[in-house]
């Protein structure tokens, strides 16, 4: 009950954020965005026809009314029909989001788990050659552009000039085996790029926790190194680690999948978004922006609840 009340309050405080995101995006993309009238009217249209189209598009209504309409769409989760295909936006999302999740999840999970593991090793052997090797590797990982990694991995693993083990592009998934074949190269590329940043961040967090007074106390009471690292240090380090993971979720789902999907031609939400950007398909863009904002607020709430679970000092009151 306390939790529910807390979540509710948090959601209310999150409303200004949703309004801000939708307002700015709406202003830029729709209000100042491309005028669709002339794409829809035929040649030599009469003035009435043009007015008719403008009316259909809602261009003749005042800004506030149009924006409120958008908020209503977001609240009822009904974004109308795509400008370019005429398909319902909801059904597009229903089709593409699962593909994106299936594509992005393995790399996301692996990138974070491996990052934490490498960070633990590096922090434990701080100053040792192993630490220097891992940290050197992570700087290299951070310095290679995601785009280059994708292209290079595709050449090396998928193309005929390379090993040719995996499909070059597309998404013809009918079995688990197909699934594995299609996600391997994108996943490897995602992990490669995420690992550099993650390892570095997590190592810094763990090293900071290692310097705490209570760690010295635990040592002074004969705590063995494994217990020290996995019990005393890691539990305290979980707070910043969880925050980072949680807050990267909304970004990874949209931005992370956009490049991979458009490069590999995978019909996920990222590809749909990219296509919507190039064609100016406003209903889809409005849906994506609105949903991301809501996702952010949800993440904000979940993150605080996680805090509570890990850190007894945090009170939800």
């Amino acid at each position: 009950m306390e939790m529910l009340q807390y979540a509710l309050r948090k959601f209310i405080t999150g409303i200004p954020l949703i309004i801000g995101v939708t307002l700015i995006s709406f202003l830029l993309m729709v209000y100042f965005g491309p005028d669709k009238t002339y794409e829809l009217v035929g040649k030599n249209a009469t003035e009435e026809q043009i007015q008719e189209i403008r009316h259909q598009l809602g261009y003749d209504k005042p800004f506030v009314a149009r924006y409120l309409e958008y908020l209503k769409e977001l609240a009822t989760f009904d974004f109308g029909y795509s400008d370019s295909t005429g398909e319902r936006v909801n059904s597009i999302l229903k089709r593409t989001v699962p593909i994106s999740l299936a594509l992005i999840t393995p790399g996301f999970v692996l990138g974070n788990l491996l990052g934490i593991a490498l960070a633990l090793v590096a922090a434990y052997y701080r100053g040792h050659w192993l630490d220097k090797l891992i940290m050197g590797g992570s700087v290299v990982g951070m310095s290679v552009s995601f785009l280059i990694v994708i292209i290079a991995f595709q050449i090396l693993l998928s193309s005929n000039d390379g090993l040719g083990w995996f499909p070059v592009r597309g998404w013809n998934v009918y079995s688990f085996w197909d699934y594995l074949r299609y996600i391997t190269v994108p996943t490897l590329a995602t992990v490669f790029v995420a690992l550099g940043y993650n390892t570095r961040f997590y190592r810094a967090v763990i090293v900071e926790e290692m310097g705490r007074d209570h760690v010295r106390t635990a040592k002074a009471f004969g705590t063995p190194p494994g217990e020290l690292l996995f019990k005393h240090i890691l539990k305290n380090a979980m707070i910043p680690i969880i925050t980072r993971i949680m807050f990267s979720i909304p970004l990874v789902v949209i931005s992370g999948s956009l490049l991979v999907e458009s490069y590999f031609g995978i019909p996920g939400v990222g590809k749909v978004t990219f296509d919507a950007i190039t064609t100016g398909d406003q209903p889809i863009l409005k849906a994506v922006v609105g949903i991301t904002a809501v996702l952010f607020v949800i993440v904000l709430i979940l993150n605080d609840i996680f805090y509570k679970l890990v850190d007894p000092r945090v009170s939800l009151k």
Binding site: L17, S145, I148, P250, L251, I254, S255, L258, I277
Partner: protein, 295 residues
């Protein structure tokens, strides 16, 4: 009236915290090498800017996909342009994007972060925090596209989009530091002598965040160059001229045909610069860390 003049054994030269940091940085071999590489790239960029080299980047002079030759050191691309010149010229583009975005977003982040940190629990802070939250919640590529729509093909919409989103990280860091600093007693001392708020913020507090701003500027620089590549590839980035991102975008068709020169050249330039900058940034951070400097 005093009799107890204290014997103070001070080193001969007075040394500011910057002096100490520079002394420390100079002894960091990795950092110095990285700085050397960055300066070398900057030299290339300045040369392009002065018209000394790279001016032939758009000439359609040779055969398509020619191999390396004395005229075209790294061969030519699909329409016979010299890859070497294009990569050199792109260095200028990269520095332009990096510098503009790094400098402006750092200034913006520094000022807004300082204001929000100094005026915590007031509407100023609330407003800036809200703005940061909003900008962080809009998917980056969508935001770039939105700005591009709104500015209708204005060539700097990518720069504006990056500045508008990259300042938030800097601002958050500065805000945190300012919240810490404003509770330091030297700030209370400044208030006690009657210093106006503006002077307290800009004369006493801000200078103590410069180390964060400097490191953050290098991080933003790298971020801007890397984003430019992806945005240009997606068709949202550099419109006029050439950049490593555009070269890689061109090369995606070429690599399928087995021509790697364009791809490898642009990738290598990009990688070396970004790597050097990252290492430089690391060493800078070590040297500027106030905890380590005062030790």
């Amino acid at each position: 009236m005093n009799t107890l003049a204290e014997e103070t054994s001070l080193p001969k030269e007075s040394e500011s915290l910057w002096g100490k940091a520079w002394y420390k940085f100079r002894r960091d071999r990795t950092g110095m090498i990285a700085l050397g590489v960055v300066i070398f790239f900057m030299f290339i960029a300045l040369g392009v800017w002065a018209g000394l080299w790279g001016s032939g980047w758009s000439n359609v002079g040779g055969d398509m996909w020619a191999g390396p030759s004395p005229e075209h050191w790294l061969g030519t691309n699909i329409i016979g342009q010299d890859i070497y010149s294009r990569a050199i010229y792109s260095t200028k583009t990269a520095f332009e994007v990096g510098m503009v975005v790094a400098i402006l977003s750092t200034i913006l982040g520094g000022i807004l972060g300082a204001l929000s940190g100094y005026f915590t629990n007031s509407w100023v802070d609330e407003l800036i925090l809200w703005l940061m939250g909003v900008l962080d919640s809009i998917p980056f590529y969508l935001f770039v596209a939105a700005i591009a729509y709104a500015l209708q093909g204005y060539p700097y919409s990518m720069h504006i989009a990056m500045i508008a989103t990259f300042w938030t990280t800097t601002a958050r860091l500065v805000r945190g530091e300012v919240i810490k600093l404003k509770n330091f007693e030297f700030v209370e001392a400044a208030r006690a002598i009657g210093l106006p708020q503006g002077k307290i913020i800009f004369r006493h507090i801000m200078p103590n965040t410069f180390h964060i701003l400097l490191v953050q500027a290098t991080i933003v620089f790298v971020g801007a160059i890397k984003s430019e590549v992806i945005l240009s590839f997606l068709g949202l980035g550099v419109v006029d001229g050439v950049s490593w991102g555009l070269m890689i975008a061109e090369s995606t068709q070429e690599v399928q045909a087995g021509h790697y020169s364009n791809f490898l050249t642009a990738s290598t330039f990009l990688f070396v610069l970004v790597m050097a900058f990252n290492m430089f940034s690391d060493s800078l951070q070590d040297a500027l860390d106030p905890k380590k400097v005062s030790a």
